[in-house]
Amino acid sequence: MYRRAFIVVLAILLSISPDAFAQDATTGVEAPAFNALDTFWVIFAAILVFFMQAGFGLVEAGLVRAKNAGNILMKNLMDFSLASLAFLAVGYAVMWGQGNSFIGTEGWFLIGVETPVEGVPLYAFWLFQAAFAGAAATIVAGGVAERMKFSAYLYYSIVISALIYPIVGHWVWGGGWLAELGFYDFAGSTVVHGVGGVAALVGSMMLGPRIGKFDKNGRPKVISGHSMPLAALGVFILWLGWFGFNAGSTLSLSDPYIVSLIVINTTVAAAAGAVVAMIVAWIKFGKPDVSIAFNGVLAGLVGITAPCAAVTPLSAVAIGAIAGVLVVFGLLLLDRLRIDDPVGAISVHGFCGIWGTLAVGLWGLESLGAPGDGLFVGGGLSVLGIQAVGTIACLGFVAATMWITFKAIDVASGLRVSRDAELRGLDVREHGMESYAGFQIFVTD
């Protein structure tokens, strides 16, 4: 059966003519002049965002048990690889192609579509966008960790990067109905992080908690990550990559002031998130919890992603600080709802993604490009209202479509691994090998 599938796939790949890529409009006679500096900027930012995959991989690996480390790293590698291919074939067209207010309908395999960014070639812009798609896809691995079947995750990766993420992106950035409404999400608090967080929430709820996560009375039990060093390194890599994520979304260096504003906002929000999350955990739990402080960094970064170009640095501190509070209470809320989120993906990306999007309506400045002044800086409620509408629309769409997707995968091939596999470890059961061969992994309770 596998040999037949292999022959079919090979036949499909061989039938894609290489000539299809030769007629690219951006290299034709009518092509506008390219701006070398802006092109370098977009590619450089794309590479930074790409490297966030390493960050996500390390955070996720560090915060799960050793027996599942290789599995989550494979999911991380594969969701980026599949996302890249799906985004090349279908996703880019859906997100950026000409079409209607709901979906793009032109540009399959990047044929017949031009760069939407003056001076920057299509392929460079594609790389930047593909890195974003990969980021959205990989967030889910953390929420569904340690119990989702590998094959199920592969199917999910294709669906989210070919359709669900690009549709949301089309609505907000690709000229769709939310862009027309005035919804503002500069670098993707909702489009990337909210989408990933809500998809993780749906997946986690449909899978159910890990064996042993909640006791007979529903109280959460500790299932520690196996490596704080890996997780910490991962967070710093994400912080580094986020400079590309946020500042690169300018797609040009023609306005050095805005680019500089974005980088300072990015860092002070992350720092505020880290400090406040640590303080909240210290007060609430009695000790400065290491993994919560690192989650706080990410919370601040997610929170500043939407407003980064339109707020002052002091506002960025406030936004990051509040994200640091939200992430801790988010973890507690999920525990109370008996939703198992092994790495905090839902709290960091889902809750703080919503927060960052709404924060545009609180501190955004029209003079910096926000659709209007925010509530706390002299404006009224109108921007906040539109931000809320857009957030609900995008995340409601994702919740519904991800529910359908995971349901279909469950019916077709099963979503969750067997009890025996979950206990033995996914590295051994799904991949036939151990990530820490030669180590004896200690049971500590």
């Binding site: 206990l423 051994v428 036939g432 090998m433 004896q440 992994i441 200690f442 049971v443 309770d445």
Partner: protein, 111 residues
């Protein structure tokens, strides 16, 4: 006095510990070990080569008990094991003496 050695699967540890503590046994020693299981083996594959794995992770529990408490200890171990999947083995071995270091107390007074 007896030394009870039990070998169980790692995921059974929380239930067994709770059963022992409820029955009043608080001097438990745990070690991580590898052990074989009848008829159980796994095939691991790495870059095209195969390996037959027959040693699996287990936990070894040791409790020293006085003779009159052996039955209770075994009952506690059994109920904890049944609670958590029903497998495991306990060996009861003779214990000649035991000494509480620090106070010098010996024998049945210690356990």
């Amino acid at each position: 006095m007896k030394m009870i050695v039990a070998i169980v699967q790692p995921q059974q540890l929380p239930d067994i510990k709770e059963a022992l503590q409820s029955a009043g046994f608080n001097n438990l020693t745990c070690t991580n070990i590898l052990g074989t299981v009848a008829n159980q083996h796994e095939e691991h594959k790495y870059r095209g080569a195969s390996q037959d794995i027959t040693l699996f992770q287990k936990v070894r529990l040791e409790i020293g008990v006085n003779d009159d408490k052996v039955g209770e200890a075994i009952d506690a171990l059994s109920s904890g094991a049944k609670e958590s999947g029903g497998s495991g083995i306990a060996f009861v071995t003779e214990l000649f003496d035991c000494v509480e270091l620090g106070t010098g107390a010996r024998g049945v007074n210690v356990l």
